[in-house]
């Protein structure tokens, strides 16, 4: 049995080794090398790539990336929560339909969908001309090639990643908990804050991670929808690799991004596992379905 499972694991292990660990190791090595005069990699050890990343020139890019990824996560949570709640609260056959509709956009290439957003957000695009027709846009409609456009694109792209885990968490919520809340004098707001949100917490955390991390390293969206000044970390890395051909600096930036994400996720999951750990410890501590001590004294008295 054990021999068999080792064989079954082998392909995945090989795949990970070849396609993930090897390039990662290569990147790590390159990040300590220096750029050759014509863009090659020269194997002389240096920490210069990492110190260069501390240059204030790049801080704007880090700041914008964090801000946009944070705003994307917040907006996805804000938009996704009511949506996930509505789906979870609808009857099961409808639930399947809504989830299906939510996933339909994935049938089309993300690049193509981002181009579609360019058409929508262009000054004389669909949204702009509609607003002008309605007389709502007295000045020229200028959204494309701005941080706003990037934010719209990111929220659009990553919303399903927020909605799905939220839906899973909310779907497991027992409607009786809400009734118990109302029965115990809670207002709608108190029921939402004290019962619904905590129930959705694992979904909210999973969704936030799934939205924040790819947003932080997003490349296509800021490249197509953002302006020249809307560079994000993903574009920086792409720029270093392909335009300036400074592979060592690009590698260093990639690794820093990855390390940052890893540290953030570790903190988040550690807090979460402490909380659920406490609940599970209780679970392990209680003898299953055995008459408890207080019960026995009661029987003794009788």
């Amino acid at each position: 049995m054990r021999r068999l499972s080792a064989w079954l694991l082998a392909p995945a292990c090989l795949w990970t080794l070849a396609c993930f660990l090897l390039p990662m190791g290569l990147m790590l090595a390159v990040s300590f090398a220096s750029r050759g005069p014509y863009g090659g990699v020269e194997w002389t050890f240096t920490l210069g790539n990492y110190t260069e990343l501390l240059d204030p020139l790049y801080w704007r890019i880090y700041g914008r990336s964090l801000l946009l990824a944070g705003a994307t996560t917040a907006l996805c949570a804000l938009l996704g929560f009511p949506l996930a709640y509505a789906i979870a609260a609808s009857p099961p056959p409808q639930q399947r339909l809504w989830l299906f509709l939510l996933l339909i956009p994935f049938w089309t290439n993300f690049l193509v969908r981002t181009y579609a957003w360019m058409f929508i957000l262009r000054t004389d695009g669909i949204l702009g001309s509609m607003l002008t027709m309605l007389g709502l846009s007295p000045t020229a409609f200028e959204v494309l090639y701005s941080d706003t456009a990037v934010l719209i694109g990111l929220v659009y792209g990553y919303l399903p990643f927020m909605v799905l885990p939220l839906y899973v968490a909310l779907e497991r919520m027992d409607p009786a908990w809400l009734e118990a809340g109302y029965d115990l004098y809670a207002s709608d707001w108190a029921v939402f804050r004290r019962i619904v949100v905590p129930s959705a917490r694992p979904g909210l955390i999973a969704g936030s991670v799934l939205v924040f991390i790819p947003s932080l390293g997003a490349y296509i969206t800021p490249d197509l929808l953002g302006g020249a000044r809307s560079m994000m970390l993903g574009n920086l890395i792409q720029h270093e690799y392909l335009v300036i051909r400074d592979w060592p600096l690009g590698s260093a930036a990639s690794l820093v991004l990855m390390a940052g994400v890893l540290v953030g996720a570790a903190i988040l999951f550690r807090n979460e596992s402490q909380l659920s750990g406490a609940r599970q410890r209780d679970e392990a501590a209680s003898p299953p379905a055995s008459p408890d001590v207080t019960g026995q004294t009661e029987r003794g008295a009788a």
Binding site: D174, A176, W177, E179, A180, G181, Y182, D183, L184, Y185, A186, S187, A190, R194, I195, P198, S199, R201, A278, R279, Q280, R281, D282, E283, A284, A285, S286, P287, P288, A289, S290, P291, D292, T294, G295, E298, R299, A302
Partner: protein, 364 residues
């Protein structure tokens, strides 16, 4: 005022059926009142109407003399112990119990004291910081009880309170609930399909079927004087004979049962309201029957002949299936007291005897 809960002609539709069908009943201040019925009888719907989770389509519900129309659950003087407890899984025991008091903005010191007292009352002292998932079924049940009781509601609603507990815990909780009721101040409204719970706990109970209350009375009245054959059958075991009223003589009725071997007329002592010739069903509880090999002597005894179809060993009792005729079969449980009488065996002929005050007549 005597009544704390009054339902007047309450109707609740569910789809095309009437889940609650012109129901009127009153609950006395301080009593333990149960609604007993099979699933689908409308008892849970009635509880939800009382708690305010649903609104009646017709009729009125008053609690403490105040109409509950347009009053949401938050503002009703009732608290509910839910069937599956509905404890908040992300809160500790103490946080669960404190929830209602917090929502009413009680001062922190009061909350701490009351939570502490209530947990002690339900024998959960020291479990304040545990999470519900780590508690046994009986403990979860007591947290649910504490969470409702801590608010000192005028009426405590219980939805199948003991259904998830095993027999031993069930007995303990029955005693616990009675003890809390006897401390006074709280009226209990309980919904259950479990007849033993209803009989043991209730001061009065309503038997509900298809949205109507068929009979309301003390457990003794409902068990010993069932209003109809369905109730007699639903509550406890019962044996019945279908017959026709041959004679009515003051308190004494004579019933003729066709198809019974040795068809002697059977007498039943029961206050009148019966007419001669009426079709009736005679109901006797198994524990009122005595079995013997010889014809018993004594006045006021009814006796029928039967053949033992089956004997089952049930520990404290021996269960006999007895055939009175081709169609009529009775169940008689005899205490396994290990006494003088030699056990009956399959195929044996015997006499079943009962006193004329031991049976009841219901309309046939």
């Amino acid at each position: 005022m005597e009544w704390i809960v009054e339902l007047t002609d309450v109707v609740k539709r569910q789809g095309s059926t009437l889940a609650v069908n012109h129901l009127s009943l009153q609950i006395r201040r301080g009593e333990f009142f149960s609604i007993l019925g099979p699933s689908g009888s409308g008892k849970t719907t009635t509880l939800r109407l009382l708690a305010g989770f649903d609104d009646p389509d017709h009729g009125d519900i008053a609690i403490g003399g105040r109409s509950m129309r347009q009053v949401p659950p938050q503002r009703r003087p009732v608290n509910t112990v839910f069937q599956q407890y509905a404890l908040f899984p992300h809160m500790t025991v103490a946080q669960n119990v404190a929830f209602g008091l917090e929502m009413r903005d009680e001062p922190r010191s009061t909350i701490r004291r009351r939570v502490h007292e209530t947990l002690a009352m339900v024998k959960l002292a020291g479990k304040d910081n545990r999470y519900p998932a780590g508690l046994s079924g009986g403990e979860q049940q007591r947290v649910a009880l504490a969470r409702a009781l801590v608010n000192q509601p005028s009426v405590l609603l219980l939805d199948e309170p003991l259904s998830a507990l095993d027999q031993q815990l069930r007995r303990e909780m029955q005693m616990g609930l009675k003890a809390i009721q006897e401390q006074g101040g709280i009226t209990f409204g309980c919904v259950t399909h479990h007849q033993e719970d209803a009989l043991m706990l209730s001061d009065r109970l309503a038997v509900m079927r298809e949205g109507r209350a068929l009979q309301i009375g003390t457990p003794k009245e409902v068990y010993e004087q069932p209003a109809d054959a369905w109730i007699a059958d639903f509550i406890g075991l019962s044996n019945s004979l279908r017959g026709c009223l041959a004679a009515v003589n003051g308190m004494s009725c004579t019933v003729q049962v066709p198809g019974l071997a040795g068809a002697e007329p059977i007498t039943v002592r029961q206050p009148g309201r019966w007419q001669e010739g009426a079709a009736v069903i005679l109901v006797v509880r198994p524990e009122r029957l005595r079995l013997s090999r010889e014809r018993a002597v004594g006045s006021g005894l009814n006796q029928v002949r039967a053949r033992v179809a089956d004997v089952r060993y049930g520990g404290s009792e021996l269960h006999h299936r007895l055939r009175l005729s081709e169609q009529i079969e009775w169940t008689v449980n005899v205490m396994n007291s290990g006494s003088d009488q030699k056990p009956f065996i399959m195929g044996e002929e015997l006499f079943i005897a009962w006193g004329e005050q031991d049976a009841v007549l219901v309309a046939g």
